[in-house]
Structure formats: C-alpha cells, structure tokens
C-alpha cells in the first residue's frame, strides 16, 4: 500500500496530529504555518478523494487492517467526499484569513492554542464524514464539539463565555442522545458498522427499541444541526466567537450535522423506515418551515451583523431540512446542493464581516454606516454573499433554491413553495438593511480613518465570492455530484 491508499484516514489524522504540534510551539507564527499546511494538505487529499470516488466508486479503508464489521471501517462514498471537500476547502481558506484576524482578536499568548483547538474541530468534522462506524461518529462529534466550546469562549466579548457554556450544555445533551441511540441500535443488532447496521436493522425494525433509538439519534443530531426549535445555542455562539472561528463553524459544523442526519436516515435506517414507518418527513417539513420563517423574521430585527447572519444560518438549515423532508431525489439533492452553496455564501459573508471587524471592531448595522466607500472590496463581498443568500441569479444560492422549489412543485406542495419564497423575501429585508447602511447612510465621524482590509483577508473572502458566482453559472460539478450522491443514498446502503 502506498501513501495514497491511506488518504481516507490521513485527511483526519493530519489535522489531529498537527493540533498538539501547535501547542508545543506555542507561538503564533509556527502554529499558523502548521495549521496552514495541515488544512491545505487535507484539502488536496479531499480533492484527490473526490476524483477517485467519482471515478472508481466508494472507497472502503480498513483501519489497522481489521476487516469490517469487526474492525473500524472508513468509508468514503460520493456524498462523503463531497462534504469532505466542502469542509477542507473552507478550513484552508479560513486558515489564510485567520492569521491577521486572530492577531487582532486574541491575546498573543493564546493564539497558538486557538489554532490547536481549531485544528481539533476540523479533525472531528472530517472524522464524522470519513468514518463508516456509528460509534466513531460519536467520538469525532465530541472531539469537534469540545474543541469548539473552547474556541467560541475565546471571543472578546464576555458574552462569548456564557454562549460557550450554553452550547456546552445543549451540545452535550445532544451528543449523549446520539450515544443512547447508537447503544439501542447496538443492543438490537450487535454491530456498529453502518453498512452492517443497515443490513441487520430491517429484521428488527418493528421493535420499540429501534424506534426509540431512531428518535434519540434524530433529536441528538437535530441539536447539533441547530434544527428549529433546538437552535437556541447557535445565535449567541456564532455572534460572540472570534470572527475566523464563526466563519469556519458556520460553514462546516452544521453541514457535517446535515451529513450525519442523511447518513443515519437513509444510509443506516433506510428511507422506508425513516419516512414511511416513522412520520419523520412531516416533522422535518414543519420544523424546517418554522425555522425558515421564524429565524428569518428574527434576523430582520438584529442590530449585530454576526447575530443577524447566525439567525439566517438557522433559516438556511431550515431549507436543507425541508429538502430532505421532500424525500424525493430532487428534494434531497437540493438539500445536498444547499449544504455546498450555504457553505460558500456563509463562509464569504462571515469572512467579510470578520474583515470589517478587523478594521472597526464590533460590527453592527449602525457601525458599518457609509463603509461602502471606505472598504469597497469587503462590502462588495458582503453584498454578493447577501444576494446569494436571497437566491438571486446568477449566484449559487439561486441554484439550490430553484431545485428546492422544483422539488416542492413536483409534489404539488405549492403552499410550501410559497413559504420558501416568503423566506427569501425576508432574507431580502435583512440583506437590504446591510446594503442601506453601508452605501446610503452617512459615515460616522470616526469612520474617516477606516481603510480597506489587508490583502491576506480579502483573498479568501473573494475566493469564496467568486466561487459563489462560478457555481451559480456553472452548475455542472456541484449539481452533478449532488444528484449522483442522492441516487447512491436513496438507492439504499450507500
């Protein structure tokens, strides 16, 4: 076996092993270099894996050479490779951005440890995506969660601390629910390998234990996903975390939770059990719509821009969940597509806000007044990201909304399609608030000294903005992979 055969595990191990290195160096510069190399190498690995998977099909990697279902199997199918690509790409770009941003927002003696924790979050997220073992999902989930509580608490505002604590309590309850769910499944089947679980579950599907396990798992993942009404931890955590951390978490953490939900719903339990025997599609649809409307509405009235975007994230998760609830190929591929596009748009938006924060400190609707002329590139990025959030063509956001509406109309659910459009209008309302403040309001007296953000921050922001535009026009790759991944997922097993 040469090194390339070990890529499924290397993509997890590289960030995991780099984290202690950062702590050992304990100085900002070498820690940044380590994080950069780990995340860009992982990104390269993910690109290679995606190419390999779409050419040769699913990769199964035996950890330590033990054959599944006894050993732990890492299994990378098309969906997994797709999500891995999103996570590693965002991580790589955020690391470029993080150097200046963290220098400004974190005390110098702690920067190296923040990099270490960020790398642990990253390792956990890639781990959840790569593994084919249910218990491993729990372990990686906790690795990423514990590290994310630590990085969120590093925000400058003291409210970051209470936000991190609240997230810790809710996140731990969620993770414990997942643990219980996995335990109940193990009880009935005696296996933890996802493929093996999928093969053995139908026999015992009609027992209360399996149904309870399903409920525990979905509620637990729902907490991690910030599915309405389990989203209470998210707005504060995103609003008060350091800017680079917010950008990374918002673009990756909830996406991986969507992946875990899809994996358990379709890959382990199977669509037949999840959607026909349990009324899960209806529950998801109602919660998704409630999330879209209520969170968008709350976002309109936020003064703090990061908080506004955090509420908008809850709404966007609603769109993904709505897509899943349609249970059709179009619906689920719209959800997967929206995972990809939302990572692009929220990554761009939160990085742009981070660039603003680098210059002006707290980013509120009134504090960005008149900055359209002072920081033209950053604010333009904010606007394109916002347009993508609304779903204006030719941005990426339009493509996924289009498929989502198509999916609802396929099933004659026109009231749902109407509600999706109302959600977009609400997005227009809060994005417009930003545009109005940045371009049409008179700048504050002390705004004269504000300059454009440094280049090392603008490059990652604009890389994501251009990606937003590119994937809005050229949909071949993003839609094609999402569709194929859906076919694989809905076709059973996966």
């Amino acid at each position: 076996m040469d090194l390339l055969d070990h890529l499924p595990v290397l993509v997890v191990i590289m960030p995991l092993m780099s984290a202690p290195l950062c702590v050992l160096f304990d100085r900002a510069r070498p820690a940044w270099l380590v994080s950069m190399s780990a995340s860009w190498l992982s990104f390269a690995a993910a690109v290679y894996l995606l190419i390999q998977v779409s050419r040769d099909g699913t990769i199964s990697y035996r950890l330590g050479g033990w054959a599944p279902p006894w050993g732990i199997e890492y299994r990378i199918d098309l969906l997994g490779a797709y999500v891995l690509l999103i996570v590693t790409a965002i991580a790589a770009l955020v690391m470029v951005f993080a150097r200046r941003s963290l220098e400004k927002e974190i005390p110098a003696d702690r920067i190296a440890r923040v990099y270490a924790a960020l790398l642990l979050v990253f390792a956990g997220l890639t781990g959840i995506t790569a593994t084919g073992d249910a218990f491993n999902v729990f372990v990686f989930l906790e690795i990423s969660s514990l590290a994310s509580y630590a990085v969120i608490s590093m925000g400058r505002d003291r409210r970051a601390l209470s936000a991190a604590f609240q997230y810790l309590v809710m996140g731990t309850i969620g993770a414990t629910f997942i643990l219980i769910g996995i335990g109940l499944l193990y009880m009935m089947t005696g296996t933890l390998n996802m493929l093996d679980l999928a093969a053995r579950l139908p026999e015992v599907a009609d027992t209360r234990t399996v149904r309870a396990g399903f409920a525990f798992l979905t509620v637990g993942i729902g907490l991690k996903l910030a599915l309405f009404p389990l989203h209470l931890w998210l707005p504060n955590a995103y609003a008060y975390a350091p800017s680079a951390v917010t950008a990374f978490l918002s673009a990756t953490a909830t996406k991986v939770a969507v992946y875990a939900l899809l994996r358990f719903m379709f890959g382990v339990f199977g669509a037949e059990f999840s959607l026909n025997k349990m009324p899960f599609d209806l529950i998801l649809m109602v919660l998704g719509l409630a999330g879209i409307l209520s969170a968008s509405l709350v976002a309109v009235f936020q003064e703090d821009v990061k908080r506004m975007l955090a509420y908008s994230s809850v709404a966007q998760i609603g769109y993904m969940v709505l897509g899943i609830s349609l249970a059709s190929n179009t619906g689920v591929s719209a959800a997967i597509l929206h995972v990809f596009n939302h990572a692009l748009m929220k990554g761009a938006l939160f990085l742009a806000v981070g660039a603003l924060a680098y210059r002006i400190g707290a980013v509120t609707v009134s504090s960005i007044a008149g900055l359209g002329r002072r920081m033209p590139w950053t604010v333009a990025a904010l606007v394109v990201g916002g347009l993508s959030l609304i779903g204006v063509p030719p941005t990426a956001g339009f493509v996924s909304k289009w498929y989502l509406v198509l999916g609802t109309l396929e099933q004659d659910l026109w009231p749902v399609a109407l509600l999706v459009l109302i959600g977009s209008l609400l997005a227009l309302a809060y994005v417009w608030k930003l545009v109005e403040a940045a371009y049409f309001a008179e700048p504050a007296a002390d705004a004269a000294a504000v300059r454009e953000a440094p280049l090392s921050m603008l490059i990652p922001v604009w890389a994501l903005v251009i990606a937003n535009l590119y994937f809005g026009v050229n949909t071949q790759v993003s839609v094609g992979v999402a569709r194929q991944a859906t076919d694989l997922l809905m076709g059973g097993g996966g």
Partner: protein, 134 residues
C-alpha cells in the same frame, strides 16, 4: 409484571437520566448544571454496561472451563464515553471559572441580567451614533 425486576438496570438508567436532565434544566447555578449533566451522562454508561451482560456469562477471560462470555465490547466503548464525559466536565468547569472571573457570578439569572444590560448599552451606543450622524 415479571419483566420489571429483570429490567432493574434499565429503571436505574432511566431514573438517573431523568434526574440529571431535570437538574440541568431546573438549576440556575452553573456548577450544579454541570453536576446534572454528569449524572445524565453517567446513566448512559450504565445502559451500555448492562446491555453487554449475558445471562450466566462469565468475564471474558480465556479459559478452557468457561464457555459463556459476557460481551466486552460495550465496556470498551463506554471507556471512551467516560473519557469524553470527564473532558466535557473539565471544559465546562474551566468555562465556569472564566465566567466567574468575567461576571463575578455563577448564577444563570444574574449573568443573564448583566448580558441584558450589555445588550441594551450596545443598542444605545448604536442609536446615539445614528443620532450623531443626523
């Protein structure tokens, strides 16, 4: 009804779980919340350990005289979960220490009152700024 005594372990699990969960929800003191969370997590350890037991089974030690073994895998799994639980509690306690440094309190309602105050002053600063602009 004859099932009830046989499911004794599970009753303990459910009781501990609900007790821990209730403490997390009802207590305003952050340290007490963490205690509740720890109890909540511990209940799951018992769940896992119970399900590994095979009736009449022995400890999984290789010996010619033993033919029925209990399943050791859940025990191994739960060792991992115990480590996770310890880590969670320590991260939580570390956060509580820093919250105490920043707020001077570990009571949820007092912290919320101070947060509320911060938020209002942020709003006021924002509206003052707008007033200045005009």
């Amino acid at each position: 009804m004859s099932e009830l005594p046989g499911l004794y372990n599970y009753w303990v699990t459910v009781f501990l779980m609900m007790a821990g969960f209730y403490v997390v929800i009802s207590q305003g003191n952050l340290v007490k919340k963490l205690v509740g969370l720890a109890i909540f997590q511990t209940s799951v350890f018992i769940l896992y350990i119970s399900l590994g037991k095979v009736a009449g089974g022995n400890a999984p030690i290789f010996d010619a005289t033993i033919t029925v073994y209990s399943n050791p895998l859940p025990h191994v799994l739960i060792l991992t979960a115990i480590v996770v639980g310890v880590a969670t509690t320590s991260v939580g306690l570390a956060l509580v220490v820093r919250i105490h440094e920043a707020y001077g309190s570990v009571e949820e309602d007092e912290i919320q009152a101070k947060d509320q105050h911060d938020e209002e002053s942020q709003w006021e600063a924002g509206s003052e700024r707008q007033a200045d602009d005009r």
